[in-house]
Symmetry: C2
Subunit: 266 residues, 2 copies
């Protein structure tokens, strides 16, 4: 279906605009992805938007034409509108010429198959959507099975997280769970829980990592609660040669993940 929208007060415009807000995303079960590059990543990963919204004065593009055709063939909607209205939807003065609305998917722990990969990333109360997206991107790079979000994390379907993931949100499995729920699930099978820690820790290089290895990274400002660290099977420490005693959360996760990748001979 194709439609052209010219009015700011059009209900579709209002709905798309509301998707910038987490509460509305959750209620609608939908999120907005901006830019042809990310939309193409999604398509390559087998995910098509329900709705494609484009500026009417966009330049012709083969990839976009293919995407339009696939969305229409799948029963999705194509909306054209003015650059002004597109700005209103994305909240940016210079929005990209195209955006898509995707259905959120199930992020229950039960969808995770721990035998699928030797490394898993786990984040606790990770609040920064940029860090969350960066962890997804790192997860893709190290061949992680997925990213498990524990507790009160940023929304992986926010525009900033999706953008920082560079498309990895479409390829890396995502789960969301409370800590107790995650722990119950983890202990129901094989899996080594590892945290970067300053307490009772061994050097991160040469530590006895075992697959499947779950790398737990804590909240940006508080780090991991002591009780969470105590639950870990292995606590490792990275050199800190300066004044500070911690790294950026996404950086710590990545340094650790690359070490585990090498240790497991992957």
């Amino acid at each position: 279906m194709r439609r052209h929208i010219t009015g700011f007060s059009n209900p579709t415009v209002k709905h798309l605009r509301s998707l910038r807000d987490k509460k509305h995303r959750r209620r609608a079960g939908e999120f907005l992805v901006e830019g042809l590059r990310l939309l193409e990543d999604a398509r390559a990963s087998g995910r098509l938007p329900r709705l494609l919204v484009m500026a009417e004065e966009r330049s012709a593009h083969d990839l976009l034409a293919r995407l339009e055709a696939e969305v229409e063939a799948a029963g999705g909607e194509i909306v054209t509108t003015t650059p002004d209205i597109l700005s209103r939807i994305t909240g940016k003065a210079n929005p990209q010429a195209v955006a898509g609305v995707f259905a959120e998917w199930d992020t229950g722990l039960t969808r995770i198959d721990r035998s699928a990969a030797p490394i898993w990333l786990v984040a606790q109360d990770l609040r920064d959507p940029g860090n969350l997206g960066t962890m997804l991107r790192t997860g893709d790079a190290v061949g992680a099975g997925g990213l498990i979000l524990v507790g009160d994390c940023a929304d992986p379907f926010s525009a900033e997280a999706v953008r920082a993931s560079m498309g990895a949100v479409f390829t890396v499995a995502l789960a969301q769970a409370r800590w107790e729920e995650f722990l119950g699930w983890l202990r129901g099978g094989k899996g080594q829980l590892v945290a970067a820690s300053l307490r009772d820790a061994v050097p991160y290089r040469g530590a006895p990592y075992e697959a499947p290895c779950f790398l737990l990274v804590g909240n940006e400002s508080q780090g991991l609660p002591e009780a969470y660290e105590a639950e870990c099977d292995l606590r490792v420490t990275m050199p800190m040669k300066g004044r500070a005693d911690s790294l950026n959360a996404a950086v710590a996760g990545a340094v650790l993940a690359y070490e585990v990748l090498a240790a497991l001979g992957e």
Copy 2:
């Protein structure tokens, strides 16, 4: 000197507000740092603000009292104002109760002493201030001599870069230079230029790193220009097991820096 300001149109308010803008920071040679934690990091590193601006209804705090006393003793200015005006200055609905104005310092290459440390971070056209701040923070952690910003990078004195650095902007040496200028300086002494690359590269683990090692990270969306890679003494590659062929710039720099740290036996 102490002053109380109640008017939005006060010239000091206008000046402080203008420091959110890079052009004004450059012209004034000053930048604004928000929050007692960062101000305390600065103090501990021997840097005091020229001016301290505080909400009049702030709660009493020992660290703040000490900072006030030191700023006054050094001939600086203490300004109290309303929470509304503080919001106007920082551009935040809920600003922290205190902010300080610091003089920018000389970031010329000539201030860099390459023999001071075995690892140096170099960023080319790094546009994201969060990535820049994160690299400073990583630099502190690995004991890097400093961060050298080559080309058109984000401003290290922006609020976002300072915040992401977690205070490392005050402890890690900073330099800014054009590429040709950097290269001329580098080749005027000992120094191995290393880049993460996909072209003609060796595995990053076990590569023949040598101190002082200059780790070059490229622009977020374009990566390093081919000519820049060609100038490198060593090109290394990290495993990429997923769909993407690159990591976040700050993450790539950190994984590499920790590898070099271990390789050099630091």
